[in-house]
Symmetry: C2
Subunit: 206 residues, 2 copies
């Protein structure tokens, strides 16, 4: 890893470089992105780039970390509501609404990096896996709170349901991206939610 920034100004420069690299990677692909282009976009000199990052791989690692933070940070308020059935529905609806805004474009940014770099750089793969782990942990924490709050039956296997829900979400995003159809994500999340519904205590209307 390059030098960690020691001043506020250094932190801002590093952030600016990572933000520029994230944009260039989104446009050109991780393999097609060049340090020259990142430098021009930031803007940052070659010596600044090499002060904060050892090489392109080190910069892509920082892009992976920033991507995790952006994707998970964007769901923070929704994660906080996951401890109730209504909050679970709101979270799923918000993910589908985002895909509708995007016309089904783009897929999951973490999965996109994984597809490009997962078989090429094991450090980056591990960072992206940690993003999925955090995501799954947030869903699991919500389901656990639903057990404690009496909305799901005691003994419900929340670890399994959370893993299944994240898989449905990821697969739904792949299919939405392929078909330019947010309804592919809707159907996938409806499946995950239907599975969870099987563990509800006194679900209304049954």
């Amino acid at each position: 890893m390059g030098a960690p920034p020691t001043t506020d100004r250094g932190r801002l420069t590093r952030q600016r470089i990572v933000a520029a690299a994230t944009e260039v990677v989104a446009e050109k692909g991780a393999l097609g992105a060049s340090l020259d282009e990142v430098g021009a976009r930031a803007p940052a000199s070659r010596s600044q780039l090499y002060h904060y990052f050892d090489d392109k791989s080190d910069l892509l690692l920082a892009v992976a970390e920033a991507t995790n933070d952006t994707v998970l940070g964007g769901q923070q308020d929704l994660f906080a509501g996951l401890g109730t059935w209504d909050g679970l529905i709101r979270w799923a609806d918000a993910l589908v609404a985002l895909q509708q805004e995007r016309g089904g474009r783009g897929g999951c940014p973490i999965a996109n990096l994984l597809g490009q770099l997962g078989e090429r750089d094991d450090d980056i793969r591990a960072v992206l896996a940690s993003g999925f782990d955090r995501w799954e942990a947030s869903i699991r924490a919500g389901l656990s709170a639903m057990v404690e709050g009496g909305e799901l039956r005691p003994g419900t296997d929340v670890a399994w349901l959370a893993a299944n829900t994240l898989a449905s979400l990821q697969g739904g995003l792949v299919l939405s991206q392929a078909r330019r159809d947010p309804q592919a994500l809707r159907r996938a999340l409806d499946g995950a939610i239907a599975l969870i519904a099987g563990y509800r205590v006194d679900p209304p209307g049954r």
Copy 2:
């Protein structure tokens, strides 16, 4: 599109070029693959390449079609068995076993191409979407046969269950690839199967 082959020899040359391109794309990524490298690998001359393919994008389209055929062709026998509960379990087990052999590496080849090219080339995106459509149709046909065979309840929404199953499979592959853990696919498919189990007629042990 370049000229379609009119002789057996032409068909073989074209196939050899597509197979070489598929390998180079797997190694270098779709954006990093060059026509020169494909030509050297096949081997094929520049004039042969341009006889069968207009340009790199046209060649990548053929790679996408070949990838669909390989992924779906490899499951043909398993698809044929999907019309029974036991066949459904066999199909899921075989997919997990393949990931175990691979140590969770590689993910889904169709999804990999989608991640690299889906936002860059709409023709290729449509071809990859058609691969997912064929995959989903095979699952749906199996579930429909289970309804007709009396294993699933009449009126079961097989289109929705098939969509959900393919999403779980795709998401499970993403998470297996990220974590180098075939169990991520296992959990995802178990979720999809549990959802289908809710529609079984007289499931054993209930």
